[in-house]
């Protein structure tokens, strides 16, 4: 190969990588995110019985999880394996005012902002049982680092 061919091959290879990454990106985004969040649009997209709906409320400085039967837990929650989990996340005033938080469950690959006056939804399906950590990754004041806990996936 001469220099021109090497140059061309280089350009094509980089373009292929970037374009395929872009395509994966677009397909993946279409699966996960639904619409611009407002106060009310937290109705589950696939309203089947296989969905576990969990309301998540971030406050300064703890996470409250309320499942469909109305049981609330703080900084910990349980979900069932192989069943889609839908989180409806918002921020509410606790002891102080409502500020922006951000829930990250790294091992599930999901992250969603908790914004005052907004209901953000996100879905994921745990495929393994075990204990996974979650944390707040948007700086939210004094005890920001304590806004963390464990999610337990049970059979």
């Amino acid at each position: 190969m001469n220099k021109k061919q090497i140059e061309l091959a280089w350009i094509i290879a980089v373009l292929v990588i970037l374009l395929s990454w872009g395509a994966i990106n677009i397909v993946w985004i279409g699966d996960v995110h639904n619409s611009i969040a407002t106060e009310n649009n937290h109705v589950s997209a696939n309203n089947s019985s296989n969905v576990q709906l969990i309301k998540v409320q971030g406050t300064q400085w703890s996470w409250t999880f309320t499942n469909s039967s109305g049981v609330s837990t703080t900084d910990a929650f349980n979900v069932t394996v192989n069943k889609t989990v839908e989180l409806v996340v918002t921020s509410v005033p606790g002891e102080y005012i409502a500020v922006i938080h951000d829930l990250l469950i790294p091992q599930m690959g999901i992250q969603i902002y908790a914004v005052p006056g907004q209901n953000n939804t996100i879905e994921f399906t745990p495929t393994h049982t075990g204990v996974f950590f979650f944390e707040c990754v948007e700086y939210c004041g004094e005890l920001h680092y304590e806004m963390r806990g464990y999610m337990t996936v049970v059979k």
């Binding site: 980089v14 970037l18 990454w21 872009g22 994966i24 990106n25 677009i26 993946w28 985004i29 279409g30 996960v32 995110h33 639904n34 619409s35 611009i36 969040a37 407002t38 106060e39 300064q60 921020s91 005033p93 102080y96 005012i97 409502a98 500020v99 922006i100 951000d102 990250l104 790294p106 091992q107 690959g109 999901i110 992250q111 969603i112 902002y113 914004v115 005052p116 006056g117 907004q118 953000n120 950590f133 944390e135 707040c136 990754v137 948007e138 700086y139 939210c140 004041g141 004094e142 005890l143 920001h144 680092y145 304590e146 963390r148």
Partner: protein, 584 residues
């Protein structure tokens, strides 16, 4: 705002007396210091005026302009009396270096506090203050200050300036900028450099900091100063450059500065308005509160500026790399035109990528696709620039590895690593678990430490004999400074990158014990960087005690890259070589 007053009033009468006593003491001491400074400055100004009149000039500024125009300038306190471009530049150098060491020590303080999973050296409140101040001061005071230092110092020489008449405005802008930075420093803000509203409006220790309103005023002042400077620099380039220099023959550093200031002017106003609305919210919360359902509006206004600022901090460094490489390879830069195209495309595309900071905030699918795609596209100009540097190095017969050149090569490597991390972040699936983790911190510390900090030091080392009136720096100490900075930044940012990939959240005063190894490694890196900067200070002190022994002429100033001015081979003697040669 109210917290401090309430504490003061509710304390006992003895407490009140001592409170008043300390306030009086502080005011008296600062008044005395200010009086001494005023006396010194007014005396010096009188002397200067008499000197100017004896030489037949109407004002000292005209004398300075005529006598010092286009000549190398050394660093002295007199720069606070002169109003020409090079003096303004040296003011920025002094101020930005002071803020670099202040903010750097804040960074070190945070590292040391994280030796334990639970905050043990600093309370979470103190940690959050250091976190916010480190970021704000490093970006607005160090990075922008260093950019203005390089711009004001090198542009008059590169453009063979025919008139230098904007000094009065530049001086005013400098003081506004400096006092803005001081206000931010004393406000002990704890909002992080984002100033995200519901938190920024919480004027308390546990929220945005009791005096956060002062930080908002301070940042607005910084912006006013910065925008005035940008307009002055545009005027320098557009209308005051010598007729001999056509637009197509300007040095690449000049192009870089031009793109930087255009980017600043076109993106800063959004946040200036946003800060004004935020300040209004302190009194009458209508814009960014939960009830308005527009909390994200401020974040959008912020990132419209917040992403261009990171390019504003590195593009002058890009320009300086283009200037430094030919000096040590002895050949012109590989492609002058693609250098301009790369920087220009970066200007356009970098203003379109800011939304990737808000990908998971519920702004919808279109948002993620658009900003994910533009973030991919911004790779193209960055790659053009990097390949241009690599081609310049590749085609050189011989590269002389002086200290500035080492900083440049390390900067290129760091930019490639940090840039690749940035591309990974721009993919929405990866962004979902990397956003808000130390991966992001690692990404931009690679780039900031390698380019903004490293290239500024490279520029300082290149200009060292000029700035110090012909003194030499100790090459061995300078090498240690380089090697430790490079090693420390790679260790620190690398550990952050890996830890972040495992889910280690950033901006936290404490962490899950499982992240201890990554934190410990990054603490070691941070300490290495701190030691390196102490070596730099020692080197400065050591050279200060020596006598000037070499010429003040400087290749960086007098030999800009442009197609019409080929660099002579063998390359002009750089300061580094002179120093080793004349050590006896």
């Amino acid at each position: 705002m109210n917290g401090g007053m309430i504490t003061a009033q509710s304390s006992t009468s003895i407490g009140q007396t001592s409170f008043l006593f300390y306030i009086t003491l502080i005011i008296s001491i600062s008044a005395i210091v200010l009086l001494i400074i005023f006396y010194y400055i007014s005396t010096q100004k009188t002397i200067l005026k008499e000197k100017a009149e004896s030489m037949g000039y109407e004002s000292p500024n005209e004398m300075v302009r005529d006598k010092l125009a286009g000549k190398p300038r050394l660093l002295s306190w007199n720069v606070f009396l002169y109003d020409d471009s090079k003096s303004i530049a040296l003011r920025y150098l002094l101020a930005s270096m002071v803020f670099f060491f202040i903010a750097g020590s804040f960074g070190l303080g945070m590292r040391l506090s994280l030796t334990n999973p639970n905050p043990h050296l600093l309370t979470p409140d103190e940690y959050n203050v250091l976190l916010s101040e480190h970021a704000i001061l490093m970006i607005y005071m160090f990075a922008l200050g260093a950019a203005f230092f390089l711009g004001y110092y090198l542009l008059p020489s590169h453009l063979k300036l025919k008139r230098d008449v904007m000094g009065g405005y530049a001086s005013v802008a400098f003081w506004i900028w400096l006092f803005g930075g001081i206000f931010i420093l004393v406000s002990r803000t704890a909002t992080r450099w984002y100033y995200y509203p519901p938190l920024a409006l919480e004027l308390a220790e546990y929220g945005g900091g009791v005096f956060n309103w002062l930080a908002v005023i301070g940042l607005e002042m910084v912006f006013v100063g910065v925008v005035i400077n940008c307009i002055i620099i545009i005027k320098l380039i557009a209308s005051e450059r010598s007729k001999d220099i056509k637009l197509s023959e300007m040095s690449l550093f000049t192009w870089a500065m031009l793109f930087t200031v255009v980017m600043t002017i076109s993106s800063a106003p959004t946040l200036m308005v946003g800060l004004g609305m935020l300040f209004y919210d302190f009194f009458n919360p209508i814009f960014f509160t939960a009830a308005s359902h527009q909390v994200l509006l401020f974040t959008i206004m912020f990132w419209f500026w917040g992403h261009p600022i990171v390019y504003i901090a590195i593009i002058p460094a890009f320009g300086l790399i283009y200037e430094i490489i030919p000096k040590f390879t002895g050949k012109p830069i590989y492609s002058y035109n693609s250098g301009i195209i790369g920087l220009g495309l970066l200007l356009i595309l970098s203003e379109l990528v800011w939304g990737h900071h808000l990908m998971n905030s519920g702004l919808g699918v279109a948002w993620d696709i658009f900003f994910g795609t533009t973030s991919f596209l911004v790779v193209i100009p960055s790659a053009i620039t990097v390949f241009n540097w690599i081609a310049s190095l590749w085609s050189a017969d011989r590269i002389r590895l002086t200290t500035p050149m080492l900083f440049v090569i390390n900067g290129i490597i760091d930019f490639i690593i940090g840039g690749t991390m940035g591309v990974i972040l721009s993919a929405a699936p990866a962004n979902d678990f990397l956003h808000g983790t130390y991966f992001v911190t690692g990404h931009f510390h690679f780039i900031f430490l390698g380019l903004t900090v490293g290239i500024t030091f490279a520029g300082i080392y290149m200009l060292f004999p000029t700035l110090t009136g012909g003194r030499k720096y100790d090459v061995r100490l300078a090498r240690w400074h380089f090697y430790l900075t490079a090693l420390g930044s790679a260790v620190m940012a690398g550990a952050w990158g890996i830890g972040g990939f495992m889910g280690m959240p950033r901006a936290t005063a404490g962490y899950f014990a499982r992240f201890q190894p990554y934190q410990d490694v990054s603490i070691a890196g941070g300490i290495i960087i701190a030691i390196a900067q102490l070596i730099f200070l020692y080197n400065l002190a050591k050279s200060y005690t020596k006598q000037p022994s070499i010429s003040m002429d400087n290749v960086l100033e007098n030999n800009p890259t442009s197609p019409e001015i080929p660099v002579t081979t063998p390359a002009p003697t750089p300061p580094d070589i002179n120093i080793t040669g004349g050590a006896k």
